[in-house]
């Protein structure tokens, strides 16, 4: 066999098996939710058609879907970079919260700065907040082998309470009774791409990061090291790869991207930080990373799917008698089937130890 012919064949392509594995959870979820719908007295096909129209029927709807998927791309990516090195980081939700608050804080505090300085400063604050939020679990995992699932999950609760306390106390908007910070100034807001849609420049940042992730994973030494460490940590250690340092780096990177997700949400969509700022972006990000099988294109498609469910769910009950709970059930079943791959991942992880 000639080396040329064989190497051409072996370039990592997306095979039918990958596609099947990625699509299967969706199909299974549609079937299960279809049964639920039928039992509830709805025609599943009609409901699905409505969902499709509400999420992709027309430029406005598509813009809404893309806007809704922006934070999910970022949280999915944040989760994926940690998974890749074998770290099961479930703390992206916490990073979204602290990142969002940090960005909002900068955005309503340093009001004298011009947009060219203030916007990067605010996003930078979000990145730093997310990174620092992951520092403790990263060090505990790398140095003392403390299970990151426990530490990062618990930190989420701390993040919820900490941010809630801050916006109800020191950072509460003057004269405001609801738990929210003041609005960020115009100069700190991400430009809207298609007003009045909330679709903003954050989406472009997310796509740029996906492309970087794709290039990084294929062509850099660090990308190779993380993959080997994720597939077989014992092998990576015996080969002389500094796995503990790698774990720290990737957890911090995961936190940085999670923080950025929060910052973009704060500066692009919400324009402030409020209690209940994230409807679980970090947790949906886990489903996105798993359903997307850690690949850049997979994360994009999975984020669009969950974004579509979120937007169509919000409007479907306006135009039909389908309650929003049905959409939540559908979203939940997709997640369950997406996470069915979870077992495989966990097995990999323990096998390596």
């Amino acid at each position: 066999m000639s080396a040329v012919a064989s190497s051409a064949r072996a370039t990592p392509a997306i095979g039918w098996r990958d596609v099947a594995l990625a699509v299967a959870p969706l199909v299974l979820a549609l079937v299960v939710a279809g049964i639920v719908l039928a039992v509830a007295g709805h025609n599943p096909l009609e409901v699905y058609w409505l969902l499709l129209k509400e999420s992709f029927g027309g430029v406005k709807r598509i813009a809404a879907t893309v806007a809704a998927s922006t934070p999910l791309i970022l949280t999915g990516l944040a989760t994926a970079v940690a998974f890749r090195s074998g770290v099961f980081n479930v703390g992206v939700e916490g990073c979204v919260l602290v990142g969002g608050l940090a960005a909002a804080y900068v955005g309503f505090t340093f009001v004298g700065l011009p947009a060219t300085l203030l916007l990067p400063f605010a996003l930078g604050a979000a990145v730093i907040a997310g990174t620092l939020w992951m520092l403790v679990p990263a060090l505990l995992k790398a140095r003392l082998d403390v299970d990151e699932v426990v530490t990062t999950l618990m930190l989420n609760f701390i993040a919820v309470s900490l941010t809630a306390w801050l916006v109800n106390g020191p950072l509460l908007a003057p004269g405001s009774a609801n738990s929210a910070t003041p609005m960020v100034v115009e100069a700190a807001r991400l430009p809207r791409l298609m007003p009045p849609s909330t679709l903003n420049a954050g989406f472009l940042i997310a796509i740029a990061l996906l492309v970087l992730y794709w290039l990084w994973g294929r062509g850099t030494a660090l990308g190779l090291e993380t993959r080997l460490a994720g597939l077989n940590p014992r092998f990576a250690i015996a080969s002389g790869i500094n796995v503990p340092m790698l774990i720290i780096k990737m957890m911090l990177l995961s936190g940085a991207i999670g923080g950025l997700a929060g910052g973009i949400q704060a500066l692009g969509t919400v324009n402030r930080f409020v209690v209940g700022f994230s409807p679980g972006y970090g947790f949906t990000g886990i489903a996105v990373a798993l359903l997307g099988r850690g690949s850049a294109i997979g994360i994009l498609l999975a984020a669009l799917l969950f974004g579509a469910l979120a937007t169509s769910g919000a409007t479907i009950q306006l135009f039909s008698d389908v309650p929003i709970e049905i959409v939540n059930i559908l979203q939940g079943t997709v997640m369950i089937f997406a996470v069915a791959r979870f077992g495989w991942l966990l097995k990999n992880r323990q096998g390596g130890k």
Partner: protein, 516 residues
């Protein structure tokens, strides 16, 4: 083939008739026919990649032939999975034992078919009775209350075998059963299997170790490249004839030319180390290895080899003592820092540590060296340079592959080991720690790897070989050091080592006692 032309020969307990199994273009089994008669020991002999594993998977119902049939009691049979094969009395002892840690030997024996008392608790007495009965059948005595974790390897293996018997198997398929045993234990296993044969059990024994095959089997089937090369009674053949059938030619033994020794590359002083369970396994070990020298460590598994490997490579902590690498004290350095100073490490556990099976061949070959200046600039991998480097190395080590981008699990065990070897000898290391360098590798691969080690030695490399194969140690080592209970019980120079003497030293007799 119609059923009518088949006369069931019930003396055939298990067999295959024209079994063919293809994987894409590869024909793993090509019309294999063999018959294992009831109450006999039948050996299937072949090198790596001969098709033994595929045949084995078919015989225990894990895979189905594309053509041909499996014969059970002389009748063509299709298995619906391993459970179905087990129903028909066919059980397999895998190379990796499948016992549950944390349970006792007795609990493992009865696991999944526990005798229960009125309250649905395990009836210990009944279980123990069953165990005693099996002991008598097999002619062994075991401490059944011992936790599996404390049991030596050969005891675990016996429990595996008895477990199959307990669950009703009367055909035992054993895959390379002696790979983990010391010479004396191999003898015990042979006695046990003969005893089982005399009880009317049928044993199918897969091996590439011809001494054991000659000692144990009644009949032998030799396969090579998926085809049956010969089938004969053991009495009618010889080791040399089998070897020739297995590899198709006689290989010359690697030749260790005298080579001048240089400076001391590895210097161990007063080394003591514990295992993961805080038991002192290595006790006051001194050892020097010089450039141009191969030092072999002989010993029954569990006498401190693992801790020695961990201490020299820096993968584990030590209690006392010092490690010097090429004159520099590296006692406090980890594996990565020691690798930077010229250490190379061929892992004994190829599947779990030596290679990353799901990663491409190329990545396995460059892992650890992927940041070297030639392959990586500013953190970006140089695709072209890596490809050239990988192809050069693979050619030099004659690794047969379709593409270096395929997962390394697509290679046979022997070729996988060549990849691991190629990586570890790449970049001119000063010291190579080679652990079980030819485990699961066939005769041709062994010769190749031995030649690699000897060439490296001649080029001035220092090698520490840790192996359970005494023949290998004798062929390679300038000095053999015997480890027993964490101490050195003897040292033998090249040319004066005999398997029997080493075997006795490995069981705790000192050099003097052996000589007496």
């Amino acid at each position: 083939m119609s059923m009518a032309e088949f006369t069931p020969d019930t003396t055939i307990r298990l067999g295959a008739h024209s079994v063919t199994r293809r994987f894409g273009e590869l024909v793993a089994n090509d019309g294999i026919t063999f018959r294992a008669h009831r109450g006999t020991i039948h050996a299937i002999v072949g090198g790596n990649g001969a098709g033994k594993s595929t045949l084995m998977r078919i015989l225990q119902g894990m895979d189905r032939p594309d053509e041909g049939v499996v014969l059970v009691d002389g009748m063509p049979t299709v298995f619906f999975g391993p459970a179905d094969a087990f129903e028909k009395g066919i059980g397999m002892v895998h190379q990796e034992f499948m016992l549950v840690p944390g349970l006792t030997l007795l609990e493992n024996l009865v696991l999944a078919q526990e005798p229960l008392d009125g309250l649905r608790r395990i009836d210990r007495k009944k279980a123990l009775d069953a165990a005693r009965k099996l002991e008598r059948e097999a002619g062994v005595t075991l401490d059944w209350d011992m936790p599996v974790d404390d049991a030596p390897v050969h005891v675990r293996q016996i429990v595996e075998i008895l477990r199959l018997l307990y669950r009703g198997a009367d055909v035992l398929i054993l895959d390379e059963p002696t790979a983990v045993l010391a010479p004396a234990q191999v003898q015990e296993l042979i006695v046990l299997l003969r005893k089982l044969r005399s009880e009317g059990r049928t044993i199918l024994f897969i091996s590439h170790k011809l001494d054991e095959v000659m000692a144990l089997a009644d009949e032998i089937t030799v396969i090579r490249s998926g085809k049956v090369i010969g089938a004969m009674k053991t009495a009618e053949t010889s080791k040399a004839a089998l070897a020739e059938m297995m590899i198709g030619e006689i290989l010359s033994r690697p030749n260790a030319r005298p080579s001048p020794v240089g400076r001391t590359v590895l210097e161990l002083r007063g080394l003591a180390a514990m295992d993961a369970r805080r038991v002192l396994r290595l006790k006051e070990l001194d050892l020097d290895i010089r450039a141009g020298e191969i030092v072999g460590i002989a010993g029954v598994a569990g006498n401190g080899q693992d801790e020695l490997i961990a201490a020299v490579t820096g993968l584990g902590r030590i209690e006392r003592g010092s490690v010097r690498l090429d004159g520099e004290d590296v006692t406090k350095l980890g594996l990565r820092a020691r690798r930077e100073r010229g250490l190379s490490y061929l892992s004994p556990d190829r599947a779990a540590e030596g290679l990353c099976l799901s990663a491409p061949i190329s990545e396995n070959l460059i892992a650890g060296r992927h940041r070297s200046a030639a392959l990586c600039k500013a953190g970006v991998l140089q695709k072209g340079a890596i490809k050239r480097h990988v192809e050069t190395l693979l050619d030099r080590f004659s690794v047969k592959r379709a593409s270096a981008a395929l997962p390394i699990s697509s290679l046979s065990g022997g070729n996988q080991q060549r990849v691991a070897m190629a990586r570890e000898l790449d970049g001119n290391p000063k010291l190579l720690v080679a652990c079980q360098p030819t485990r699961g590798v066939d005769i041709r691969g062994i010769a190749f790897i031995h030649q690699c080690l000897l060439d490296y030695r001649e080029a001035g490399g220092a090698v520490l070989v840790i192996s359970e194969e005494l023949d290998e140690l004798i062929a390679l080592s300038d000095r053999i050091v015997v480890l027993y209970d964490g101490r050195v019980t003897g040292e033998v120079a090249r040319g004066s080592a005999k398997v029997e003497e080493l075997g006795r030293m490995m069981l705790g007799e000192t050099r003097k006692e052996v000589a007496a």
